[in-house]
Amino acid sequence: MSSRCPVSLLFLLPLTLVACHRETRDYESDALLSNDRPVAFGANAYHLAQGQRLYAWMNCAGCHAHGGGGMGPPLRDDEWRYGGSMEQMVATILDGRPHGMPAFRDKITEDQAWQLATFVRAMSGRARQDMLAGRADEPANVEPLTLDSRKPVRRVTPKQDDATEE
């Protein structure tokens, strides 16, 4: 076997980087220092899991439920009033948005915001499959992200937003 091992390692070389990056437990959050944060956070299973925890801890579920929305808009579809990129989501979380999204800047740290964004991104079916978890240990209400595909958007009637523009 000793003869086969390095061979298979060579085979897996590209996979290596992927796997290593997905699996690091980056609790010092060096990812924040990385110059490509969307990847540093967005492709790391540990940050995704932390994001899932924070989603509950910071009461996101109270407004956005498990992505279906409620007091806040749904997060499972791919409609983003304020932009769906990681950076935009982080901005939304940290600084809030006029129509009711509160600012979390002094409630969570910046890397936590990135972790949250990572999870929210996964909710809308845009995360790498191999970093998703089948379910959480909670009441099973939504179908597993691993089996979930992005929902088609149901357009909001345009009125509802400009109804409130000053």
């Binding site: 076997m1 000793s2 086969r4 091992c5 298979s8 390692l9 897996l12 996979l15 290596t16 796997a19 290593c20 997905r22 699996e23 690091t24 437990r25 299973a45 540990y46 995704l48 899991a49 899932q52 499959q129 191999d130 970093m131 978890a133 089948g134 379910r135 959480a136 240990d137 909670e138 009441p139 099973a140 179908e143 597993p144 691993t146 089996l147």
Partner: protein
């Protein structure tokens, strides 16, 4: 027409077709093909056994390295050599490697190699299945270790308790790798178990009734049956875990009326018998070695056989003693306490018999017997601390502490590894045709014996002094530093001593003295053939009249198996009366291909459930090709008396 020809025109061995010409013919029929291809296609139990053995020993070495790393980290308080993340992976890998990739497979290895020789037949009942099992085992091991190298090493302990190992608290693929590795090794172990059971029950040489089987063969028979009953349990558990993690089923989610204790029950229903699956073959080694080195039949053959069977049965009745702290009903505990204590009775009986044999025999204190003595001195401590753990109140104190760590290392190293090393020394000449160095052997033995106790004895006290298991560091001032330091130093020496044993093996392999057929003047059939044995094991099948065929002066043999096709004798289950002559498969690569296909299926199914559907196709194809009736130029036929 020549005498060795039958009326039906097939050549068979016989009194007048023997010696060199027969040897040449049989070798041509039974040997593996040439070159790498031949190596890959081999279905010879000896080649497969050797591969199994070497692979298992490599994993032992790897596991040992991990152990050394842990002792390094724990050698002092507040050490920061290894961080928590890596440490958790390391102790998980250590346990997993040792249990799944070393302990069980190494026993399989010895059995696959020795059983056919000991019962006087030419190959196992399902040679291709054996080959398949090896490839699966290898794939599983590679999967785990490659993953570890890629930082995807499992980190939830070798027992992978949910919900910690569940989808929420173990992100990424680490646990999936663990669970899938379990699947691999389960398949491998089950395949071997089936093959060995059939071999032992149907392939014994004429006259080797059940009551005349060597004790090692008995232990393997019991163990194989235990494997068949216990392994499915853990395979189920890991399957459920995978589907929880991958497709979000709720088997272990308490919210949806799953239960995390379900995991523990399933796991320990396998996990506890596992310990005996590892120990019983070792007991078999001891019986064989004692018999050989005291020059008398092991005392209390029947008692030992019954003890083996009793252990095999009781082993399934005490898994809950791993769960005393979970708060199950107290009354139930009483039963498991009793059962856990009861299981030490059969073990006690065996020890009594071995010692009685030594007492009444004429022991030669050569290395294998030394290992046996070391085994008794060490294992009994493990057994007795086991009795303590069986007691609920005491277990509640020392459960999940270093006391338990000490206990099972005494049982597994003292009870299984010591006899194994003895057994390897004992059968080394048969494997390789050369003797191992007695001097190096003795040095190795004493060094490991002493360093072992130095390493693991202090752990009893650490445990009582309150040091929990699976911690990557501990604060200063808990009074644990000295003991840990001693233990770590001991570990260094222990590692060296194992190193010495390996060196001894390698040196002896090169230039050990040549071994005769029966260097120890032992009594078993495996010594009736040359060292190492020819591809066909026996030119003529031996006929057995009592327990110690090699100690009789005349050794009758049976004639009449074909020499140009692979043909084996099937005998009756109990009396081993020759029954049918059956063709035995030729070398083939299909087991390897099937294993490769299964590997693709298993690995891919960690990423998408569809892999199970799509991956099933190549597997099915490979199996069809494997079983396609070909080169079977004749059916089995009754024995001509």
């Amino acid at each position: 027409m020549k005498p060795e020809y039958d009326p039906d025109g097939y050549r068979r061995d016989g009194p007048d077709f023997t010696g060199e010409p027969l040897h040449a013919k049989l070798t041509e029929t039974w040997r593996d093909g040439p070159g790498l291809l031949g190596w890959i296609r081999s279905v010879d139990h000896k080649s497969i056994g050797r591969r199994y053995l070497v692979t298992a020993l490599v994993f032992l070495a790897l596991g040992g390295v991990l152990a050394a790393l842990m002792r390094l980290q724990l050698s002092g308080a507040e050490r920061e050599i290894i961080g928590p993340d890596r440490y958790n992976q390391i102790f998980t890998m250590h346990g997993t490697t040792m249990m799944f990739l070393f302990a069980v497979p190494v026993m399989d290895a010895m059995a696959i190699y020795l059983v056919p020789l000991m019962i006087g037949t030419r190959n196992t009942a399902f040679p291709r299945l054996n080959a398949f099992s090896y490839w699966m085992y290898l794939a599983g091991g590679l999967l785990l270790w490659i993953a570890f190298v890629l930082n995807v090493g499992p980190d939830a302990g070798w027992f992978s308790y949910v919900p910690l190992a569940g989808p929420e608290f173990s992100p990424g693929k680490r646990i999936d790798v663990w669970a899938q590795m379990v699947t691999f090794t389960e398949v491998a172990a089950l395949a071997v178990a089936v093959s060995l059971t059939a071999t032992i029950l149907k392939k014994r040489a004429p006259g080797m009734t059940l009551a005349r089987m060597p004790l090692f063969v008995w232990s393997i028979l019991v163990v194989s049956l235990m494997v068949i009953f216990s392994m499915p349990s853990v395979a189920t558990a890991s399957g459920l875990l995978l589907s929880d993690r991958l497709v979000g089923t709720q088997f272990y989610n308490s919210y949806e009326f799953g239960d995390s204790l379900l995991w523990q029950h399933l796991f320990w229903f396998f996990g506890h018998p596992e310990v005996y699956i590892i120990f019983l073959p070792a007991a078999g080694f001891v019986s064989e070695i004692v018999q050989a080195f005291t020059g008398r039949r092991t005392f209390g053959y029947t008692a030992i056989v019954l003890a083996l069977i009793a252990t095999g049965l009781l082993a399934f009745g005490l898994w809950v003693h791993h769960m005393f702290a979970t708060g199950l009903p107290r009354l139930g505990y009483a039963f498991y306490t009793a059962a856990s204590m009861a299981v030490s009775i059969p073990t006690g009986i065996q020890i009594f018999c071995w010692l009685a044999t030594i007492w009444t025999g004429r022991p030669r204190f050569m290395v294998p017997l030394l290992w046996v003595v070391g085994f008794v001195v060490t294992f009994v401590i493990g057994g007795l601390s086991g009795v303590m753990l069986a007691s609920v109140p005491i277990d509640l104190q020392v459960h999940d502490t270093y006391f338990v760590v000490a206990h099972f290392h005494y049982v597994l190293i003292g009870g299984a590894v010591f006899p194994l090393l003895g057994a390897i020394t004992y059968w080394f000449p048969k494997f390789t045709g050369r003797m191992m160095s007695e001097r190096l052997g003795k040095v190795g033995f004493w060094l490991s014996f002493l360093s072992f106790h130095a390493t693991f004895f202090p752990m009893h006290i650490m445990g009582i002094e309150g040091m929990p298991r699976r911690i990557y560091t501990y604060p200063a001032g808990m009074g644990w530093e000295t003991l840990n330091l001693i233990s770590s130093l001991g570990a260094v020496v222990f590692a060296t001593s194992v190193g010495i044993f390996v060196v001894n093996m390698l040196l002896s392999l090169r230039k050990g003295e040549r071994a005769p057929d029966n260097p120890w003047n032992a009594s078993g059939l495996e010594w009736a053939t040359s060292s190492p044995p020819p591809p066909y094991n026996f030119a003529h099948l031996p006929i057995v009249q009592d327990h110690t065929p090699m100690w009789n002066d005349e050794r009758p043999v049976a004639y009449g198996l074909r020499v140009e096709d692979r043909e084996m004798l099937i005998s009756t289950v109990i009396e081993a009366v020759p029954d049918v002559r059956e063709p035995s498969p030729n070398p083939t690569a299909w087991p390897l291909i099937a294993a490769a296909a299964s590997t693709v299926l298993f690995v891919a199914s960690m990423f998408t459930p569809w892999a199970v559907v799509i991956g099933a196709v190549p597997v099915a194809a490979a199996l069809i090709a494997w079983f396609w009736p070909k080169d079977m130029n004749h059916e089995g036929e009754p024995v001509i008396e």
